[in-house]
């Protein structure tokens, strides 16, 4: 009995801290530890959510999710082939381009936003491009790393059994690089969420980022917290999906990493 209690306790250990966090959030402004105007109690934020209605929040969240999925999908569709080509087919070209690619990847997408607007016009396309830019680099770099970290002896072994280049690509290179690629996609997704808020403040009239921007300009402080919480929850949820995918696709490795929560 004591043992089961102990194991249940262990399972919920990480939940306790979150509960404690929200309790502190609720109490701190009320007892004067924080300014209730800038840090409204958690119950005020829940009330704000009710006022805005679930439907509107759902609409804003789904608009943001749609933008992320479009930008992220295009980024993946571009980054994976580029990564495979640079990592596998033309390693010398990769060496040649490496420093330029590293340089480009360091440029935050917002600096390029005016360029995106000029090229793609105002509106959705600019936002997609910001997310594309944010997600493209981690996916491409991890694909290159993944391809290059496939053990040469496995390729040699496949070749000794008469495998041609095409077979080696989809039976050795892809599964060999998959773990690294999925990690890169997860990073790309996290980057997308971080860039989303900024992109939506720059040129949008909907979405969770716009909600924050709008609330900011009108001084609706509880609404800022509400949107921030929603973005965090969404990001965490998507991260979970990727982690689940990784664990269920890469089943040939010993599980060594700790779970997020």
């Amino acid at each position: 009995m004591k043992k089961t209690l102990y194991s249940i306790n262990n399972k919920f250990l990480s939940v306790y801290i979150i509960i404690a966090f929200f309790v502190l959030w609720e109490i701190a402004p009320k007892i004067g530890w924080a300014n209730p105007h800038f840090v409204p109690p958690f119950s005020v934020i829940v009330a704000e959510a009710r006022k805005l209605t679930f439907i509107q929040l759902f609409v804003e969240a789904s608009v943001s999710l749609k933008r992320i999925s479009i930008g992220f999908t295009i980024a993946s569709l571009l980054a994976l082939p580029v990564g495979f080509i640079l990592g596998g087919a033309f390693p010398r070209l990769e060496n040649f381009l490496k420093s330029l690619l590293k340089f480009l990847s360091q440029i935050p997408p917002f600096i390029l936003f005016p360029v995106f607007v000029v090229v793609f016009g105002i509106g959705e396309k600019g936002i997609y491009t910001v997310i594309l830019w944010a997600a493209f680099w981690p996916i491409m770099f991890t694909t290159i790393t993944g391809v290059q970290s496939v053990e040469p002896i496995l390729i040699k072994s496949a070749r000794s059994m008469g495998a041609n280049s095409f077979t080696i690509f989809y039976k050795i290179i892809i599964p060999g690089a998959l773990s690294s690629i999925l990690t890169g996609m997860r990073t790309g997704m996290t980057m997308s969420f971080m860039m989303l808020i900024g992109a939506e403040t720059l040129g949008a009239d909907s979405g969770l980022g716009w909600l924050i921007h709008n609330a900011q300009s009108m001084g609706f402080i509880p609404r800022i917290y509400l949107a921030a919480i929603l973005i965090a929850v969404l990001g965490l949820g998507v991260n979970y999906i990727f982690q689940w995918l990784e664990e269920n696709i890469i089943i040939w490795k010993e599980v060594t990493h700790d779970k997020a929560i």
């Binding site: 002896i153 496949a158 008469g162 039976k171 599964p175 089943i251």
Partner: protein, 297 residues
Amino acid sequence: MLNVLSKAVDIEPANTGTDKIVIKNINRVFNIKRNNDSKNDFTAIKDVNLNIKAGEFLTIVGPSGCGKSTLLDIIAGLSKPSSGEIYIDNKIITGPALDRGIVLQGYALFPWRTVRHNVEFGLEIKGTGKNERREISTRFIKLVGLEGFEDRYPYELSGGMRQRVAIARALAYDPEVLLMDEPFAAVDAQTRETMQDELLRIWEETKKTIVFVTHSIEEAVGLADRVAIMSANPGYIKEVIDIDLPRPRRIGDIRNSASFSWITHKVWEILQNAQPDIPLKKSSANLAEDISASATI
């Protein structure tokens, strides 16, 4: 000249066996690009001639760096000789093919495939149907004694078990020649002996031609019909000796026999003579010095 040679072959009695693989004047030179020096060619293999008979167990023994793995790669078709020719069944070898199976140093199992799917890899490339693949892989997994482990992934297996999978994988697509590059180097002593006996049993059951590379003299002598002794710098075949130990063998039974000791000692002597540039006496003198130096401390 050629005529005379072919006649000579004709005259030989039939029971010596036909040549499966003929290696003629193979050289392998590696071009090492370092310090922009154009004269940095490294000769890994020099003037190797070797005939491997169908169904025989040939081991190649030599010090590390003598080019034995390079020679095996050339037989496998994974590497091309700089000059010379190599034939299998009188056809010149141009690349890897399913008539030769290779077991590489360090297992080289595909970590994302289960034991069964590792064993089936060559069959997939061959285009064998799914049901037949399953039937064949079941047979070879049984042959190497891994029943019940079909659905395990390589990370769940011990070193010896991984090596068995590698052997089953190389045998599954039914190559006529099995090439093995120090397959038991990474397993512990007990497992190695078990694996050697297993290999002898598999060889007797399947009647494959086996070319086995090792740096262990005991292993080379214990397994082989013939031992090719290589020397280093540049790698060439110093001598090929017949091993007339009784068959079927078990390593444990022959290991303590006088003839086994005598042959291993003979091989050791040939290997020592094959390395004239290593001054034995001087190194032993140094060793003595080292010991005395540490003794004084």
